[in-house]
């Protein structure tokens, strides 16, 4: 990594960090924190889906694991929330590795991988909805005890900075992946797995590392969600809404790019808020916009917003990698 890699990330992070000094209204800060949490989770999706080309439709499995591990550790065993954050991230990696081990070893790709991840997330949701340790359908309420040591802050801006720091760290991580041998091999697997294998890439090991990393980052976002909103239940933590959000953001922003997930999350939620402002109290209006934008993006802008910008700026050297191009049938 060079200064050229670091500077744009640093500049953006500093600019974003100044935002709470200008805007202090709590609904706006709430919106920003939520958006950053989604962006963070989406960055996790992007490592596996964007670089590795393995489209997961069930990243809720990791988000929910992060959220539940943090909450359960605090409530049942009184373990500190910061330690919970580390353990939740590790749990996300472990769940990612386990799901990956089962599905990649069976050779599931493309649509089949999407379906199996979706099913795993549903299994987790049903279990969390029924098991006593997760509080069943009533969910879990994390005790309000506003102390920095508990990962609870009485100023929303502090939480915003915390999430922003994680987002920036993952931006750096993603940039590193992009520049590393690991990233190059992942892209090779995405573009043509058989060819990559023929060149000596151990695709199973590679995909396992990608899904574990992806699961860890997304679990971290789930943990932060739980700590910010202090309440989770099975339909929030393991619900399909979050799987969809985490996949929409990178695809809209620019799949397989460093900034794509953040740009996508910002755009989607910005548009969603605008739609809500204009349309008033129509339920689901923001989601109608999300779905419409997704169809339009796939139809007209496969590289997402960043891809469009690049084309407009005339730097069409294919720097924005195109993801998901894979003729995929499982069971070979």
């Amino acid at each position: 990594m060079t200064a050229r890699d670091l500077i744009p990330i640093a500049v953006l992070a500093i600019l974003a960090a100044l935002l709470p000094l200008v805007v202090t209204a709590s609904p706006v800060l709430n919106f920003l924190v939520f958006m950053l949490i989604v962006a963070l989770g989406a960055q996790g999706w992007n490592i596996l889906g964007g670089f590795g080309g393995q489209f997961s439709f069930g990243h809720a499995a990791f988000f929910g694991t992060g959220a539940y591990v943090t909450a359960i550790l605090q409530l049942r065993w009184g373990i500190n929330a910061w330690a919970g954050l580390v353990l939740a991230t590790a749990a996300g990696a472990a769940v990612g590795w386990a799901i990956g081990f089962l599905s990649f070893r069976s050779g599931l790709r493309g649509s089949y991988f999407a379906l199996v991840t979706l099913a795993f997330a549903e299994v987790f949701r049903i279990l969390a909805n029924a098991a006593p340790i997760t509080g069943g359908a009533a969910g879990l309420l994390i005790k309000l005890d506003v102390r920095p040591a508990n990962l609870q802050f009485d100023d929303r801006a502090v939480f915003y900075w915390l999430v922003l720091a994680f987002v920036a760290a993952v931006l750096l991580l993603t940039r590193w992946i992009q520049r590393s041998r690991f990233g190059a091999q992942l892209v090779a697997v995405r573009e043509n797995e058989d060819a990559a294998k023929a060149l000596g890439v151990d695709s199973l090991k590679l995909k396992l590392r990608a899904i574990a990393l992806s699961g860890a980052v997304t679990a971290l976002s789930g943990c932060l969600y739980a700590q910010y909103f202090l309440y989770i239940d099975a339909n929030i933590a393991y619900g399909s809404w979050i799987s969809v959000e985490l996949l929409l953001a990178p695809i809209i922003g620019g799949v397989g790019t460093v900034f794509g997930p953040v740009v996508g999350a910002l755009t989607l939620h910005g548009l969603g808020e605008l739609a809500k402002q204009f349309a008033g109290r129509i339920p689901g209006i923001d989601l109608i916009v999300f779905g419409g934008v997704l169809v339009l993006a796939v139809a007209f802008a496969r590289g997402g917003i960043l891809g469009l910008l690049e084309r407009l700026l005339g730097r069409g050297r294919g720097m924005v990698a195109r993801g998901g191009k894979e003729v995929s049938h499982a069971g070979r």
């Binding site: 489209f55 089949y112 379906l115 199996v116 299994v123 069943g136 989601l287 997704l294 499982a330």
Partner: protein, 290 residues
């Protein structure tokens, strides 16, 4: 312990629920078999059809079974149009794209319904909603028995269309060899759209058969679509008899799991089967090729 009679009754009930699952899966598997795409919007389209049945009953006073008749051509047209003008052009023939486009469609459809009808759950009641038929010591729900019959009839009809008509022949040709079909003068985009339309028409029947005993809200399709995926994967992607048998089997599994594990865990059996089949034998029990 449960008495054999309760278990038998649960199994039969499951069989009847499974028939409707089979109908939903039939459309999905047909679309997969020919277009080789996974239609994520299938659940949302089912919700549309269920709302249409409810509207026909609530606003026009139409019997839900009777509503199937006008709804079948309507849903066919909707499916035809969606594939021809949205899914086909937007996805540029790429597998991952189709998944995303249909996902986008399902989000839009679901939330348009939410905007129109709010999230309230709606039911309709008919004279026969709670009628039962006695079969020896067993009591079977009359509308669900009709559902079972309907599913078998529709499967038969679909099989006839595919095997005894020119359009059916063209559909099978496109499914086997797209390029070759194109070379002998088959309009492939048209056949794709017809297939998508047929898949949606199956949903119209399923909706009509479901509504007398079930309810509808904008999110209901999601509950069915995963089950339908399971059925399709279990029966073998693209296999019509597979969809029927898979649907019946899954219905029984769900019903028995519900009996032994309680309602909240009842569906877990379905997903575990789904995962197991995907991991062990992704071609399904009846699928010939990967």
């Amino acid at each position: 312990m449960y008495s054999p009679q309760i278990i038998l009754e649960a199994a039969l009930n499951g069989l009847m629920t499974g028939a409707v699952y089979a109908l939903i899966a039939l459309g999905l598997t047909l679309i997969y078999g020919v277009l080789h795409i996974i239609n994520f919007a299938h659940g949302a389209l089912l919700t549309c059809a269920m709302f249409a049945v409810w509207i026909a009953w609530a606003w026009l006073g139409m019997d839900p079974y009777l509503a199937i008749l006008p709804l079948v051509p309507l849903m066919f047209a909707l499916g035809y149009g969606l594939q021809r003008f949205v899914v086909g052009p937007a996805s540029h023939g790429d597998d991952g794209n189709i998944l995303l486009v249909t996902l986008g469609l399902s989000i839009v459809l679901e939330n348009v319904l939410l905007a129109l009808f709010q999230s309230d759950t709606r039911t309709l009641d008919t004279d026969y909603s709670f009628q039962v038929v006695a079969l020896g010591p067993l009591l079977l729900s009359y509308p669900r028995l009709i559902g079972l019959g309907g599913a078998v009839v529709v499967t038969g009809l679909l099989w006839l269309v595919l095997n005894r008509t020119d359009t059916g022949k063209a559909i099978r040709a496109v499914a086997k060899e797209k390029l070759g079909a194109n070379l002998v003068g088959i309009d492939v985009p048209h056949i794709y759209a017809v297939t998508f339309g047929l898949g949606c028409a199956c949903l119209a029947v399923a909706a009509g058969l479901l509504m007398p005993t079930f309810y509808v809200n904008p999110r209901i399709g999601g509950a069915f679509v995963l089950v339908a995926f399971t059925v399709v994967v279990l029966g073998g992607m693209g296999s019509i008899p597979g969809a029927l048998l898979g649907g019946l089997f899954i219905g029984v599994v769900e019903s028995l799991c519900g009996l032994f594990l309680g309602d909240s865990l009842g569906q877990i059996g379905i997903f575990l089967i789904f995962i197991a089949v995907l991991l062990v034998r992704p071609t399904g029990l009846f699928g010939a090729k990967a």
